[in-house]
Symmetry: C2
Subunit: 193 residues, 2 copies
């Protein structure tokens, strides 16, 4: 998606340790017009698939998933939660995810009643690096007996390999921008096409 | 908003300790068609105000704010973050909020570059109870010199007083459903009109 690549190139910042900051428009400040066009792009890519539910993970995926869902017939968006809260039932699917940005493991949960065996699920997230967060969401879908129809990602860090590993396993991963390399010294970013 | 009241009455669950669970459509599973109609209602209420930014707090406010922002000329949505992350700059406004649902205090931060003196801010959140989360967002706006133009809330627990205290201070609080009382024994919910 050319628009997203240009936003990353113009407003993104490359940091040491493979960190790409795009919080000007993607995950601290949110450009909802861009989110809508991202949703439109995913809807075109996954046009042949039946999507009954969109699953994402808090917090950065939520805004993108909710705006994008409008392009999937207002499919319900469920966001997996990163910590126990007294507002959640005990009847949950649970897994564990290692966060690259937070540098620690944390439990991820979804209430069983919102993820079911009949669901055809589109996973959506802002970033795909090593794929650990997505593996967690896939675990939750498998536990529920739901079908993962596809994976919509805004920014994939291709050089970290998580996306290609998922593709090799047969998952339909549609990343709207794939960063092939980035240089914290010069700030240069190259994209896969 | 009659639709929201009916959803709360039909799908909400009243728990002991003044807990109202509406995670079937508002803050675990998200009905984005409803979010769109909520955004339309807030746009009608705040029609005379100039809104340049929408500020919310992770995680439950994000989806609602992003879908609603489409009714405010795609105003940028900024979500305050609840914990330090290596992906955030050091240059932040910080405050502390006590969470009713998590039953602990936590720091809330927003990057200075995304909240500015010239901003006319609409605060959006899923719940308003004692108002502590909103006080945190107002603190952040005051620190930035931004103007709080209004507050859009999905569900206000009127009996906890946070909304009325804000109104008494002159804030324009538009809650789409105000629960006047609720009974964990019978499940009965009455709304303020």
């Amino acid at each position: 998606m050319r628009e997203l690549e240009e936003r990353i190139r113009n407003e993104g910042t490359v940091r040491a340790g493979d960190v790409l900051k795009v919080d000007a428009f993607l995950n601290h400040q949110c450009d909802v017009g861009l989110f809508d066009r991202m949703g439109s792009a995913w809807a075109a890519h996954f046009a042949g698939k039946r999507i009954t539910k969109i699953l994402t993970i808090e917090a950065s995926g939520i805004g993108i998933a909710c705006v994008a869902a409008r392009h999937f017939g207002d499919a319900p968006v469920v966001f997996a939660k990163k910590a126990q809260s007294i507002n959640l039932d005990g009847d949950q699917y649970t897994t564990t995810v290692y966060s690259f940005t937070k540098q620690r493991e944390f439990p991820v949960i979804v209430a069983k009643k919102y993820l079911n065996a009949g669901d055809h699920v589109l996973l959506i997230d802002d970033f795909l690096a090593n794929g650990k967060a997505l593996r967690g969401l896939i675990d939750l879908c498998m536990a529920a007996g739901a079908t993962v129809e596809g994976i919509g990602i805004a920014v994939e860090k291709g050089f970290q390999g998580g996306g290609d590993a998922l593709r090799a396993e047969g998952y339909d991963v549609d990343s709207l921008a794939i960063v092939e390399s980035m240089d914290p010294k010069t700030g240069d970013i190259t994209f896969r096409h």
